[in-house]
Structure formats: C-alpha cells, structure tokens
Symmetry: C2
Subunit: 587 residues, 2 copies
C-alpha cells in the first residue's frame, strides 16, 4: 500500500510504502491520523504547511455495497480545526484500486494564482502509481460544469476527477471539493469545511485518475469478506429506508422535509421557526411527483458511484424535461429552501446547480444566506436575490467574499447575533432546540456543526434503533457519544453513512460490515471494537483541535438558542454544559 | 461610591452602593472585575447579555498628574475575549467627581436601529447622580465631527462626552468609543477591540456628563496623597521622555518612528519589512518641523485632558494653517503610514481624521488596510485608494464591512495568509521579529495583539529601566510578565501609561504613584504589592478568556512570522511556545 505525496512547491511526487502503523486505517481514520501526525495545528489553513489528505475507505474498491467513499482531510479554513469530509465517487475506487492508502497534497507554489492538474495513472511495467503534472490555468476562473466535460474529453470517459472551483480559488471557508458523479458533472462533494480552498491554495485544480491496469484491492480473507458483503447487502435491501424503491431510492434524502417539518425541527428562515409553511412543496415526495409530471414517468434515483445499492441520488427536471441539477439532497433542499423561506423547487435546483458550478457547499451556502437575509441584504423568500448572492460568491465581489467566508464570518461581518453555527461552520437541517441529541452532536463534534458526525436523528426522529423523545436532553450525551464513535468507524470503512439505518436495526447487517472489514484487513475485530476504534479517531481529532485552540469552550451552541424559544415547541436549547462536556469527557 | 446601571432595554437607570469587594478597585481593575463577575463569557458580544462598563481610575478626578483615564470594558466583538481599552478625557474626571465607581450599560432595546443619548448630571438636592434619556436618532449615521459640536451646543460647553460612531452602528469589530479632547471634537479614543459596537448594540449613542455641583473624589489621607502627587509630578517633569519640551511634548508619540525604523522594528507594508524608506518624512520630528513651517512658529503639544503635565497630544496643520487632525499618534502615523507604504503626513492626517469621524480605531484600521493591500484590493502606497477604503468602512459597503470586521476577519475574507493579528486583533507598531519581548506581550496578553498591555519597548528599545538586546528572546517572558502585571495596576490607578517612563527610572516617582493611591484609598500598599495586585486582574481576565474559549493555543504569533524572516535583521519569531506559556503559567 502506498502513501502518494504530491509536492506542489515544485510539482513533483513521491511514493512511500505505507508505514505499518497505518495498515489498518482507511477513510477518516487515515486522513485524521495523517493530519494529526503531520500537520502543525497552529498552521495557517491556506499556508504552505497545511496538507490535504485523501484516503479511500478500508473496503472501498471492493464489491462491498455502497462503499465508494473518499475521505478528504486537512486543517479547515472554516473552523480552524481538523476537518474530514467524505463523498461518494468512483474517484475513491480508483485510488483504492491503485492501492493508494493516502494521497497527500503538500507544499505550495512560491507564486499564487497559477494552477496545475495532476494526472494519476497505474504504471503497469513498474507496478505502481504514476503522476504527471500539467498546467491548468485554462480551467481556472470557470464554471465546473463547463470544465468537467473538457477534462473528460481530454483524458477519456473512464477517468475519475477531483476538482476545486471558483470558490476555492477565492480562498473561501465555504469551498468544497467536487468529484464526478456517474456522469462528467461536478455533482458529488466533500463539501464541508473549506477543503477546496486548501486544494486551490496549493495550486492544484484537478486530480484526474485512470485506474486502467491497476491491481485492485487486496483482500486478506475473501470468504469472510464475501460472507460479510452478502449480510450487509441483504440488510440494505431489506430496510424500509434503504431498500429499492424505499424511502431514499424513491424520494431521495429530501424525504426528510415533511418528517422534520412535522416534528417542528425543520429550521426555517434562519432558525427562527421549526416549521415551514412551504415544506410540502419542496419535499422529496414533491420532487418525485414533479419529475413524474414533467417527464411523464416515474423516476427512481440513481447511484452516485458504482456498486451502490441504496441509490438515493435524485435529479430535478425542468418543464421541458431537461435536468436542472443533481442532487437535490435534503440538506440542500432545506438550506436553500426552508431556511431562506423559498418554496420553489426550480429556484432551489438552480441554486444547487450554481453551488456545483462554483464549488460551494450547499449547506454552508444556505446557512450563510439565511444570515444575510437576517441582516436584510435580501429579504427572506427572495429567490432571485439569493441566486444573485450566489453569483456574487462565484465572482468574488466583496459581498461574495463575506458570504464565501461561511456562516460564522458572515455573521460577524454583517453584525448579526442570530448566527446558527458551531466553530464557524453553519448548522445543517435539524433544529437543536427541537431535537436535542443532534444539538449535542453539533456542539461537540470535532467538525463544527455537522449532522453526519453523530446522526442521532435516527432514534430521535426516524425510529431507527428505537424511538426517543426528541425534545428531552436526558440521555442524549451518551447517545451522541455512541453515534459519534460508531460513525468515525463507518467513515473509515468507506461505506456510505446510510448503511447505518440497516446496521442499527438489523444485527446481521452490522456483523456483515465488521466481517467485510476483517476480510479485507485480516483482522478479527468484533462489534465491540467498533466504538473503541472510532473513539481512537475522535481522540486524535480532539487533540488536534485542542492544540489548534478549539476546546470545551467551543463545544457550545450559539447563545441565541439558549434564550430564544423556537416555535412550535417554544423550547430553548436546554442541554447543560456538563452534559456537553461529558461527551468527550467519557470517551 | 456608586455603581450606575443604564438598562437600555427600557431606558431606565439604577444606582447601587458599590459593594465592599469593589472598594479598592478602579479603572481596569474595576471594569475587568465587573465583566468577570457579571458577563457570561459565552454571550454574543453584540447580544443582550454583554455589558459595557466604564470606570475612572482610583486617582482620576484628583490633582494627581496625568490621571484622567477612563477604562472601558466588555466582551470584545473583535477578539471574543475580555477587553479593556482606556482613554484620556475629562469625561473620566466627571464620573470620578460624581463618585461613580462604575457605569454599566446593560440590556438591549427589543428593536435594533434606534439610538438614545444618556444625560448624566449631579442631582444636588438628592446628592447623587441622575440620568435622563433622550432620543438620539438625529445623531446616527453621521460624522462625529459634525455631531459633537451639536451636542455641546445643546448641553453646554462644560459637558464631557462619550460616543460611538458609524463604525459602531455597523457593528464592526473595529469600532471605538470616542471621547472629547480639550475641544468639542471626537479625538480621544478607547479604540481597540470594538467596544463602540457594544455601545451601539445597546442603542446608546452618547453619554453626556455634566459634573456641576458634584462633590469630587474623596481622599482618605490628603497629606499622603499630596506627598505622592508631588513626587510623581517631579519625576514626570524630570524624565527626558515626559518633561516639558521633552520627547513627547515636542514630537508626540511619533518621536518613535525614527527610533523604531533605526532598530529595524518599524513594520512596513503589512509586516514585510522592519524598515520604511519614508520613515523620516512621517516622523514626529517632521510633524514638529512641518507645523512650524506652516504656522510660522514652534508648536508644542497639548494635554488631552485637564491636569496632564506630559502633554503629548499633537495636531497636524494644512498649508493654510488650519488643523487637519489631532492626534497623529505614533501608532496612527505608523498604521496609516509605514504599514501602508504611505509617506505623506497630509494623507495620514486625513486618514486619522476619517477614523475619528467614523469612530474607527486607527491601529486596527491601518493593520486591516495593510492586509487589504496585501490582497491587492488597492496597492501599497496608494493613499487615495486607502482613503477610499476608509470611506467604504464609514458607509458600510460590503468591502467596508470586510475591513470593519478587523484584521483577522479581513484576512479570512480576503484569503490572505500574512495577517498580523493575535486573537483577531491587528498588531500595533512594533515588529515582533525585531523586538522579541513585545511579541511575547502581543501573543500572551488577554487583549489580543496590544503593545500597551506590557510595553517591553521601554528596555528593549528606549533604554528605560536598563537596556536589553531587542533581538534575543532570552529572559523576555519574565520581562513581559512583569510589565503586564505592573501595567494592569497602572491602568487601575487612572494614570496615563506614560508615567511608566519616569516611574521605571526614578524610584521616587514610583513611590509617588503608590502613595497617591494609598492616599485616596486609605490603603498601605507598598511597591511590592503592585505586580501582585496587577496579577490578580490578569488572572480574572485570563479566566474570562478561558471560559470564552481563548486559552494557551491562542497565545501564539501568526504562523507566517515563524517562517518568514524579516528584513533587515532577517529574523523569524523564535520564542518557543514554552516561553509563551510561562508568562501566565508563572503568574
């Protein structure tokens, strides 16, 4: 297994045998460990000493279902702490097939403002990966929907692509890394935390991979792996949320809009209410029905990457049947819809398309625009105004820079006190005052406000692995801790986090995941090892953050949530600090 | 002694007897203690739960020389930590004469965007202070040079004034509190840390004071006080820096321009060099000579407030003899001059005037503009461009908001890595790579980058209290600690920090300061108590900051100073973290 280092100071690369200590790491475990081991927590995120690390998961590149996740990690320009953001894309499978344990982008050109493309292939005679660098200024300053096809045309239809967009070139805290979807479009994202800006700060615009001739993933115990794979695949196909033509495959993640609205936990108009009167019009069911009407047939969702059997990626089509954008995730739909008081799917889809075009994270964009609307920059509900602001972000105007800096920065620059963020990162689509456990996750995860870090929504709202009262803080610290630790493990396997639904409810699914991992690595971990192994990753992330100046005092909700009661439940965020501190205190 | 509380939620006030625990506090000791005791470190600086506290020093309002300092304190919108910023103004003496130990501005109107004026007088029959509130929207959105005379016209020539400007109305981290100078002009500032924005967030535009009939300061032991006062006054009149027609009285604080340039420690063009080729043209000597030429006579400086015998406040006059601005402090001269590559005193004076007009801190403004020039917003040396940007700050355009947010925020919004700030606050006029002790103060003070918090320049550059090698880090942590603790005490007495020069060099001057304080309070403190008492204040400030999320990891220099050698000495900031940590570790 290789550690592949791209040195952007002089556009050279180096291949190293992965050290023994990294043998059992993958995905988030790998990126967070390498960042912890090699990056000075005090470094400037856009300076020469930050490193951007990509790692496929442990089972990525195998036939394990829904496992084409790439983990990206670095010191975050948005939070100032460690960042891990993962995405589903064939690019992950390419790296895994070339046996690249981690791809590390380091150094920085002496002069800023020029860009390169790294072309990663398998050198068959030498039996190792190979990198060529090409000037890429021609792709800079442009819409990613335009340049992706050019790159595919140049390097062939079978390549996979990681890229950063205009937002990254501007150095925004809100700048994601775009990956290819099933098509030559920039529609899969490691969106959160500004990792695109780290990539651009190194003068790296694209990493194009072609895995032709690559040996593929080495599997230590094929029989065990196959046994696990089957168990997990069966569980996925069985569970109501993940099964074919089930919730996610039919309605996409936006199936959650009506559910959260019903629960009073759908943040509306910059977190001033938990209910949106336009919720039904933007819900996943409306996407399904709208597409059916416009296309004249039922459209089920597609896989973001080969081998995914959940297939939750949707598209939204214009009246003429042409595709406006993919994917209208629940998070994007909420962020650019309910959170802005906008109830038109056409407008929301246009904003999603613009975020993809410019390389912006949709969640951060929506949370930031909510703050801008709070400040009166444009009015709530003004879709044209919101679209104009996203264009300003793309162009890098002063207002675009304020918004590109993310929710926390925009709140400061615009003098707003109702700023829904933790550690500078904007909050996702679940209201902490209405769903207390997810608030604990937002507050305490190393990532800044992040729902995926410990998705307690499963038991608090969805009835997965039991059903808890969303409004009570009781027991939720322990719940968040357990979810955060398990998630860190799942994020390391390379599976999509959506396997959590079946593995939480179906014991054999959980066994299957562990057996897959043991099959690949030759380990003999049990289910009990899962939270322990996840916890070790969290400890490293936490240690990095503490050295970067992010400790307990940053594991807090914004003050307004402690004194502004949220309709319809009229609750404040009443989780005591001691409960927040116990999440990591007892890890 | 009174604690006077203005509740801006309903424009009422309350007088309380100062609690016994506050009896011996004044100035910074009083403001920092009250903020520590009453403000939630996790509150939003511009929200309803922050408090803005004003306190005159212990000897303020007496005949003690150079003692008309007002301390202002709150949670800072710039640093997110505790903030104390003091200024010399007769307004301090008014509060002291009315026996107001602390004036606390708390609460917040339900609706933002309206302003009030608090009119503070002495109610002779009731023998206590009295407050009336008047609507003040007519003064909002305007140049403070225009509204100060209107306020004086309305309330009489003898009033004193505290005010906030347009910068504060915009909610900027760079928004000072302006006080009257000898004239009805907004030219004395509690500039640093955004306290003006806290004032404006509470809907408070002016506090106008009239101390007619007030009883004056109670002095416990008049003989001892007089003895101390004489000793201190003699020392001030004797020391080369503070004596009449000495360094400060002749050339103002800008006498330091040539000295720091010579030492290679004058930060130039956004901290890219320690030498400025235009230094001589903007030096204090040039101000003196320029005024002489334009006025046809030698002009010595004036006192910022009654009773100051140092009299360091200068003015700069246009070719026709009219005054452009006061005061061209060393810090302002540097920030808006050398730091921007600008060598015209007329341009610098115009920028100082604009900062006063809009209510901006000159240091933060210059440090921020340096970052904007680094980003290429305008070129280094482009005075017209810089002036235009200050106007944008006044108008609150998007670019103005980026810059108004201060050095740290602007660095993030503009994607710059060479950002000279600590805890978000822009660095003052001494290069840490050329003067290591002051760098330790910048890094470790509770205030964010601040030279006044522990002015080690005295021994490192000026030969006051010995002469040390500026370039060596050896012994500087202990030096900074001693200066920081002593400074916290001086900031509590109400004396101008410039008494530090004579009291460091002349033992009887130091004795005099302590005797003055003992005379007022009836205490029997000795010189040995000074660092202990100062240290107690620092400990409270430190505890507040830790609870606000600002700890050891924030006591650091920006990364670029650790890898970019600074001409002409070509040194990096080589103070080890352990030395930085020892400053507070051994307090």
């Amino acid at each position: 297994m290789w550690i592949l280092r791209l040195n952007m100071a002089d556009r050279t690369y180096r291949l190293e045998e992965a050290p023994a200590a990294y043998t059992r790491l993958g995905g988030r475990g790998m990126t967070s460990t390498l960042v912890y081991d090699e990056v000075d927590p005090q470094c400037h995120p856009l300076g020469p000493n930050n490193k951007l690390v990509f790692a496929p998961g442990i089972v990525t590149g195998t036939t394990a279902p829904s496992s084409a996740r790439i983990s990206a990690g670095a010191k975050s320009p948005l939070t100032g702490g460690i960042k891990e953001s993962n995405a589903g894309t064939s690019w992950a499978q390419h790296l895994a097939a070339m046996r690249i344990k981690a791809l590390v982008v380091e150094g920085q050109p002496a002069e800023q403002g020029h860009y390169w493309l790294a072309y990663l292939t398998w050198d068959v005679p030498a039996a190792r990966p190979k990198v060529e660098f090409f000037p890429a200024d021609e792709y800079a300053g442009r819409d990613l929907y335009q340049v992706f096809p050019e790159v595919y045309k140049r390097f062939g239809a079978k390549v996979a692509v990681a890229a950063c967009g205009l937002a990254a070139e501007h150095g925004y805290g809100n700048a994601g890394i775009a990956f290819n979807d099933r098509k030559d479009a920039p529609t899969r994202y490691s969106g959160r935390g500004g990792l695109g800006a780290v990539m651009a700060s190194k003068g790296l615009k694209f990493i194009v991979s072609d895995n032709a001739g690559a040996p593929g993933v080495e599997v230590a115990n094929k029989a065990l792996f196959d046994q696990g794979r089957k168990k997990l695949a069966e569980a996925i196909r069985e569970h109501a949320i993940t099964k074919p033509q089930g919730g996610l495959n039919s309605y996409g993640t936006a199936v959650l809009i009506n559910i959260l609205n019903e629960a009073g936990g759908l943040p509306t108009r910059n977190f001033s209410s938990g209910r949106f009167e336009g919720a039904a019009r933007i819900a996943g069911e409306s996407i399904f029905e709208g597409n059916k009407q416009r296309l004249g047939k039922e459209l089920y969702n597609h896989a973001c990457s080969p081998g995914c059997i959940i297939q939750c990626s949707n598209t939204w089509h214009a009246a003429d049947g042409s595709e406006i954008a993919s994917c209208i995730e629940y998070e994007s739909d909420w962020a650019l819809g309910a959170n802005l008081g906008i109830d038109s799917l056409d407008d929301i889809a246009e904003m999603v398309r613009l975020c993809n075009a410019y390389g912006l994270d949709t969640i951060e964009t929506g949370a930031t625009l909510g703050v801008a609307m709070q400040a009166g920059v444009v009015a709530f509900g003004d879709a044209k105004g919101a679209i104009g602001l996203i264009h300003e972000m793309g162009r890098g105007t002063p207002m675009g820079r304020i918004l590109g800096g993310g929710t926390g920065l925009a709140g400061k620059a615009l003098g707003v006190t109702r700023v829904p963020e933790v550690k500078g990162q904007g909050m996702p689509a679940y209201e902490p005052r209405a769903v207390k456990g997810i608030g604990i996750t937002y507050a305490t995860t190393t990532m800044g406000a992040d729902h995926t870090a410990g998705y307690t929504i499963a038991p608090e709202i969805l009835g997965v692995s039991g059903k808890l009262d969303a409004l009570t803080p009781e027991g939720k610290a322990a719940l968040s801790r357990a979810f955060q630790a398990t998630t860190a493990f799942i994020d390391s396997t390379g599976h999509c986090l959506f396997i959590a639904f079946p593995i939480l409810d179906i014991a054999s699914g959980f066994e299957g995941m562990v057996e897959e991992v043991n099959g690949v690595l030759g380990t003999s971990w049990t289910g009990d090892d899962v939270p322990r192994l996840g916890g070790e990753i969290l400890k490293k992330e936490r240690a990095f953050n503490e050295a970067a100046g992010i400790g307990k005092a940053q594991d807090r909700m914004p003050e307004f949530m402690r004194y502004e009661p949220l309709p319809p439940h009229n609750q404040v965020f009443d989780v005591p600090d001691s409960a927040l501190d116990s999440v990591f205190g007892e890890l």
